[in-house]
Amino acid sequence: MSARAVYVRGVGLHPFGRFDDKDVTRLGQHAVRAGLREAEVGRGGFQAAFCGTVYTGVAAGHKVLTSLGLSGAPIVNVEAGCASGGAALSLGVSQVASGECDTVLVFGMEKMPRGIIRSSFFPPWCEKAGLTPAPAYFALRARRLLQESGVTREHLARVSVKNHGNGVDNPFAMYRKPLTIDQVLASKMVCDPLTLFMLCSPNEGAACVVLGATPGPVGPPVRVLASVVRSHLPGSALGEHTPMAGRIADDPPSPTELAAREAFHKAAVGPADLDVVEVQDTDSGREILSIEELGLCDRADGGAFVADGIGERDGRLPVNPSGGLLSKGEPLGASALGQIVELTWQLRSAADRRQVEGARTALGHTVGRGANASVTILQR
């Protein structure tokens, strides 16, 4: 297959946080305008647009582009849970790689409902039976790490401390105060072993990535080596597709493992080639599990990865230098593309105080209920 090279031509980001005075369309406009401006692409300069969003409703991406002047290009809204932005990106990448389009606009946006979010995912009786709380599922995965991966409660806290520390230097993050391990451990117990400061908050934001068959005007060229989405296999009771039961006997590869294998194969790089990564950290246990599933350490070595400080900003493989979802918050449709924006800045050496020196190859990862995982590999 002779696919064309795909470049990140430009990026744009609206901060992640709470913005009561702006509707979701305005958040999207902000990111899209910033991305198109940097890419030096006009309103008729892209041949397709893909918009990742979950809670926004009918024709969400169309509203944003209508307000900016329609060009007649196809606009497709993409919902794939936490991987919505990654799914939108993979569709855009395939359009450029195949030669169907020379330039594609990809963006994601979200204004998460306030309070406890009721998902339409489960049948009503599951809610009534108490079987639906998301933090409880996160807690079971975290406890599995405690039992099988040498992870301690202090390791869980340390991940949160690291990401909040990184977020201090990210003007696009929601929480920009440093935390200590003691503060994280002493915060309210939500679902043992996860405390409040080990969990991310749903919030609002938007991100934009303009893809092209040629490099953009800003910085060294950044190529998309792979952009992959995978869903689950049946059988795992702890899978992100959150079934009510699975099999004891087998442990099928997770969506993240499936996506990572494919992405590394397509990109012809391996975990050892990576210089910086942004991974799903809905909770601090999720970050460690993501690291294991992506093959950034051996399975069951997640505790040692944290203890050795490998993912710290000055470690061998910095993880979530942006501050991750723990400090930025999680606007579902925008979170995966927010990672791509951060990694593009990292590869251009434009990440200010968050900069990972000399970063050349980067990976972004999201996964969520449904279940889909996205893995994107970038290189300069």
Binding site: R118, E127, Q147, L194, L238, R247, I248
Partner: protein
């Protein structure tokens, strides 16, 4: 006072309840709750079997505040229980002291009232609790 199941087809009545699992007549894999199609091979001939009188606790946590739509007591235990029939089920956990929950604990199925609905019915749901405690 009437008793109603939280959802038909999930479990048999106390005092010696069982979970009702589906078993595929094609690939023989079991699933829970029962479905019209096998989630492993999409075959449409499913037999119902009674499982899970006892099990072994695999993973657990404690839910401290009521999730949306849940009217039962808090805090409550939540986790995964391995059944001798090969299924690993998501379940509520009950114990006189939730702190005694630990992986590997032998557990027993109970079907008990979870909450009272708007019509005054006691709504029955299932849970697993320590097998060592005599329950009636």
């Amino acid at each position: 006072m009437a008793q109603v199941a939280i959802q038909p087809g999930l479990f048999t009545a106390p005092p010696q309840p069982r979970l009702l699992a589906g078993q595929c007549d094609g690939c023989r894999e079991r699933h829970f709750p029962t479905a019209d199609f096998c989630p492993y091979c999409s075959h449409d001939a499913i037999s119902i079997c009674e499982v899970g009188a006892t099990g072994t606790l695999y993973l657990h946590t404690v839910v401290n505040s009521a999730p949306p739509g849940y009217d039962g007591p808090v805090p409550y235990g939540f986790g995964l229980v391995d059944l001798p029939e090969g299924l690993r089920v998501v379940t509520r956990l009950v114990a006189p002291d939730l702190a005694e929950l630990r992986s590997g604990l032998p557990v027993r199925l109970v079907v008990e009232p979870l909450y009272r609905d708007d019509d005054g019915n006691d709504v029955l749901s299932w849970a697993y609790g320590p097998a060592t405690k005599a329950r009636r």
